[in-house]
Assembly symmetry: C2
């Protein structure tokens, strides 16, 4: 299965923005992420709608953080993306008349449900501020070697 990397992507953007105040254009962010400005706008749209970031047009415009990083969790970000599927596997048929299929679905759904719940729970425990702290730690040890945030 091809994997969805939007959560990873949008977190990367947010963390980049958190490194310095001010606004960032989609183009700037796209360059840092080695992707296309439209992709940035796309993955940021949900965050904007929920008020986690603001966007402004015209000169000096761009994206700005508009939330308390200690309050927003990975789960909030995930929700802002539209809560895409977490699991790569699913049941062959969702409402089967076949009892065999029902038995299989019941067993798999149990496991799938547990894994999803755990994942969402973990997401809910991590705030953007925590990611920032972790990043600062990494930056610290790198700076001693004279490296920038973007490394090699």
């Amino acid at each position: 299965m091809k994997q969805d990397s939007r959560l990873s992507g949008v977190l990367h953007v947010l963390l980049h923005m958190a490194q310095q105040p001010g606004s960032f254009t989609s183009e700037t962010l796209a360059k840092a992420m080695d992707t296309n400005p439209v992709v940035i706008r796309r993955i940021m749209a949900g965050l904007r709608d929920l008020g986690y970031v603001r966007s402004e047009k015209g000169h000096g415009g761009g994206w700005t953080l508009a939330c308390d990083l200690t309050k927003v969790t990975l789960r909030d970000v995930y929700t802002a993306l539209g809560s895409p599927a977490l699991l790569a596997m699913g049941n062959r048929t969702e409402a089967p008349g076949c009892l065999v299929e029902q038995a299989v679905n019941a067993a798999l759904d149990q496991a799938f449900g547990d894994a999803q719940a755990l994942l969402l729970s973990r997401f809910g425990e991590v705030t953007l501020a925590m990611l920032g702290d972790d990043l600062r730690k990494r930056l610290g040890s790198r700076k001693l070697q004279g490296m920038s945030a973007h490394g090699a």
Copy 2:
């Protein structure tokens, strides 16, 4: 993300086979699963290689169970399929030079790893025999109403 339903499918096949002794052609199984015989052969290939089922050509040929259902778990079946991806989400870049990306990956990998481990652990707790027991229970209550395994 489109979801992979091979595990669901192969379990369905195995459970069908467990309902009565003897061999089953790919065509028979395909009809019960409402799919194509080649698809059956494809998802069964790994199980055959690991000895969980046998296949025979020619007249009277087909697929037969060749394992102790109380010993084979959903995890074994999953492995026989080639251990396909469990999660629909992944990191944007796997070995990033960017420290921001590293921080994001670290956080996500933690959650992803936990969820995967839980899923595999759950799979390991469920044997094919347990699925069969559950199915028999469902068949029992259905039979009282005069319904067959394939319901409506």
